[in-house]
């Protein structure tokens, strides 16, 4: 059964240090009625992720105290977070950075500035429990 069909709305944690982006994400995702939490600091975000085991993490790459890559790796190394999906976000979207993110365990990688409809499409796919790695720009599966 997918997370979207669960009785309890999906839990999404946003780790993003840029307030304006975080506000936009909270606004758009909030319309879906999902449980949202936002952290600006990487270390704080990771601690909460490990504690709450969310369905989805929207993870910025460049973060204070702990990079998005590091958080991604730690989530994937944790036995308790195997079901947590990770959508990485970065302003620098070179192919080698996308590859690094996916190699470290991200389920998808999206480059800023992004179209909010594309973002929502990626988020819904991940929450639908499709174990497919999607890449907005390359279309790789």
């Amino acid at each position: 059964m997918s997370a979207l069909q669960d009785a309890e709305p999906p839990q999404v944690i946003i780790v993003e240090d840029e307030d304006n982006i975080a506000l936009a994400l909270m606004t758009v995702l909030g319309r879906e009625g999902w449980r949202l939490t936002r952290f600006a600091d990487g270390a704080e975000g990771l601690a909460t992720i490990e504690e709450r085991q969310p369905d989805l993490v929207l993870l910025d790459v460049m973060l204070p105290s702990l990079s998005g890559y590091e958080i991604c790796q730690r989530i994937r190394m944790s036995d308790n977070l195997t079901k947590t999906r990770i959508l990485m976000m970065t302003a620098r979207g070179t192919s080698v950075e996308r590859r690094k993110g996916l190699a470290l365990g991200a389920d998808a990688f999206i480059t800023k500035p992004f179209d909010l409809r594309d973002l929502m499409g990626q988020v819904r796919r991940l929450l639908s429990d499709q174990s497919v790695i999607l890449d907005r720009e390359t279309g790789h599966a």
Partner: protein, 698 residues
């Protein structure tokens, strides 16, 4: 009887010879008188005297003819053979003993000549040994200099004051070559646009200070490549003309300029595409229209323009990131070997595997980075069983550093990448090396107890494979002292720039459709072949090669499949031979094949020509055999059987023959091209002279 006669002293034999001649004359006279006397009674006195005169006269004529033949065969031709054999030994390195049959009726002359040539050979050998010792020492020094020069990445060219090339190294050859390779004694201005070179030389010459230098930026005339470098005047010790030549160091900056221009254009585009939506945004916001739907749409539209522009320009910047850093096309095996060797020095043992692939990298910095990471891995928790693999990927290569032990965290790897590397440059860290290569590094788990550090390298930037050009330098410093060349006819044979060539063909009759299937040539300066300046190509004759021809030169239809047609091959050969005297053995034959295609080639083979068949006749006499084999035999040139009747094998033999004929021609007083052509024309019965009228001697 005859043998006993040959053992008599020469003077006695000559006396006996002439005594015999006198006796023979008297016998003819007596016989004539006797025959005449027998006719007096029947035909009268007058008739008797006439008969006596006729018989005696014919007898004396026959006797004279017989004596002439004996003299011609045993004295005149014997002397000629002996003298050419002596000249061959005097002017060339031929040290073979004289043929005993030469001059066997010339008394002690032949044994004396053999003794002289024997002593000459011994003296030459002793001299040659001394020269060889000194030459070996110089050759070792030369080899060391060559090795040093081979490692100079810039093109280095030394020119005489008239811009004729005296020296060039391998990179210079690579930089200047497109259709036509550089050559000694060719004008540098044929390869570079003349303006900047002439201007720089004039600038330096005006200042007059030797060792003065100036920067030069010029373009290659053939390829259009942009070249940057320095010109420096050099006054070499042997220069007698007084005017100094110059050394030009060049490097290809086409890519650098293009990259710089690209970055400039990108920067300009950034301003252009960002300035307008930014200004529009400011205007829209200042107008306070953001509250209504139309205003918000206007805002969003401008923001979208801005975002698209920044994303696109950012992607272009990222794709060009690191291209400014000087990198070389390097084989993965070479890279792996360097990493393993440097790691071993640091006490880290790596087992390496590398695919047969190349990448454009800064070898020194990349090796330092990988070894640094390997050291950190070992230092962290005694990681063992370390491996290095460099594999090919669809869009590049992937370096993987493997180890036995716990996985490295991203933050730990980042700390290692932030540490300075010992590469002799300030502020170089692992992170900056990765940035210069447009790359990243990350850890992956290969198995529960084995980790991998991955570093992908994109080879889309890969330049051409390292040049396989001959790296050796080509030079002839005597050219610095060369007097300005005057009219060709007055040019000394030793000062000629010659291109010796040979062709292999499908048959002997170009008029019946036979064609060239191979051309080879070597360039000679100062009468010596220039190492590294050779030309060799197979040619598609456009028709099957008959078995009989293949039997001679061993070239098959399969060999010439895919080879250039005669028009292309001959055009390239024409470029190679530009400005030179063409030399061939039986030149009319080879030139006939080339001249038939002049229209298609678009060039005329109207070079001045020397023919070694005719030069052989000049030196050895017309009555000798003048095939290439016979000429080589006389000059002591050995053509290895495996290269005989290959275009290059015969070309090298012909070039060596010319090299040895020149001093022999000089000994006969034939010193200039004009004199050689005039002398050759005296043997036109053998071969026609193929020189155009303008090359005829004055």
């Amino acid at each position: 009887m005859l043998e006993r006669l040959t053992q008599l002293p020469l003077r006695l034999r000559v006396f006996l010879f002439f005594a015999g001649l006198s006796v023979g004359g008297l016998v003819a006279l007596g016989g004539g008188l006797w025959v005449g006397l027998t006719r007096v009674e029947s035909a009268g006195v007058v008739s008797g005297f006439v008969t006596a005169g006729l018989v005696a006269g014919f007898g004396l004529l026959a006797l004279s003819a017989w004596i002439w033949m004996l003299f011609d065969e045993n004295v005149a031709r014997a002397i000629e053979r002996l003298s050419t054999a002596l000249r061959a030994r005097a002017h060339t390195d031929l040290d073979r003993a004289l043929d005993p049959s030469h001059g066997q009726y010339l008394g002690d002359l032949a044994p004396a000549a053999r003794a002289v040539t024997g002593t000459l050979a011994e003296t030459k050998n002793a001299l040659a040994e001394a020269v060889e010792r000194e030459t070996t020492r110089l050759a070792v020094e030369n080899a060391r200099l060559q090795a040093l020069l081979a490692d100079v990445p810039a093109g280095v060219i030394l020119c005489a004051p008239d811009h004729q090339i005296v020296f060039y190294n391998g990179p210079a050859r690579g930089i200047l070559t497109k259709d036509r390779a550089p050559g000694l004694n060719r004008s540098l201005l044929d390869y570079l646009h003349a303006g900047p070179v002439k201007a720089a030389f004039a600038r330096l010459s005006r200042d007059g200070a030797t060792d003065a230098a100036t920067d030069v930026l010029c373009a290659c005339a053939q390829s259009g490549k942009m070249l940057a470098g320095r010109m420096r005047l050099v006054d070499l010790p042997q220069t007698g003309s007084g005017a100094p030549g110059y050394v030009l160091t060049l490097r290809d900056v086409t890519d650098e300029l293009s990259l710089h221009a690209g970055r400039e254009a990108l920067l300009e585009e950034v301003f252009d595409r960002v300035r307008r939506p930014a200004a529009n945004l400011q205007t829209v916001l200042a107008a306070g229209v953001a509250k209504d739907a139309k205003g918000r749409a206007a805002l969003l539209s401008e923001v979208e323009h801005l975002a698209v522009a920044i994303t696109e320009l950012g992607a272009r910047y990222d794709s060009a990131r690191g291209q400014w850093w000087p990198m070389t096309s390097t084989g993965a095996t070479e890279l792996a070997e360097a990493i393993v060797a440097q790691a071993a020095q640091a006490g880290v043992h790596l087992t390496a595997h590398a695919a047969d692939v190349r990448a454009r990298v800064d070898v020194f910095q990349l090796v330092s980075l990988v070894v640094h990471l390997a050291e950190r891995l070992v230092g962290r928790d005694q990681a063992g069983d370390m491996t290095l693999s460099i594999e090919e990927e669809p869009d590049g290569v992937l370096i993987s550093l493997g180890w036995q032990g716990a996985l490295v965290s991203v933050s730990e790897l980042e700390r290692w990448l932030a540490e300075p590397l010992d590469v002799g440059l300030a502020d170089v860290t692992g992170r900056s090396v990765l940035a210069a290569h447009g790359s990243e590094a990350w850890p992956e788990r290969a198995s529960p107890d084995r980790g991998l550090l991955r570093i992908p390298l994109v080879t889309a930037w890969a330049g051409p494979e390292a040049s396989q050009d001959v790296r050796r330098a080509v030079f002839d410093f005597d050219l610095m002292d060369r007097a300005p060349s005057g009219a060709l006819a007055q040019t000394s044979l030793r000062a000629l720039t010659c291109v010796v060539f040979d062709t292999e063909t499908t048959g002997l009759l170009p008029s019946s459709g036979d064609e060239i299937c191979q051309i080879a040539a070597v360039r000679l300066l100062g009468g010596r072949p220039v190492a590294g300046e050779t030309f060799e190509t197979l040619v598609d004759p456009g028709r099957p090669i008959p078995a009989a021809a293949t039997e001679v030169h061993h070239i098959t239809d399969a060999d010439v499949r895919g080879a250039p047609p005669i028009e292309t091959a001959a055009r390239r050969f024409h470029d190679f031979a530009d400005g030179a005297v063409l030399v061939a053995h039986n030149a009319p034959f080879d030139l006939e094949f080339l001249r038939r295609h002049e229209t298609g080639i678009g060039r005329r083979f109207d070079h001045p020509v020397l023919d070694t068949v005719l030069l052989s006749a000049v030196v050895f006499g017309q009555t000798e055999v003048h095939t290439l084999d016979a000429l080589c035999e006389r000059l002591g040139i050995v053509i290895p059987s495996e290269v005989r009747h290959t275009a290059m094998g015969d070309t090298v033999a012909t070039a060596t023959a010319l090299e040895r004929l020149i001093p022999m021609l000089e000994a006969k007083g034939i010193r200039t091209f004009g004199e050689a052509v005039a002398a050759a024309r005296r043997h036109a019965r053998l071969l026609k002279d193929v020189n155009a009228p303008e090359h005829a001697p004055a």
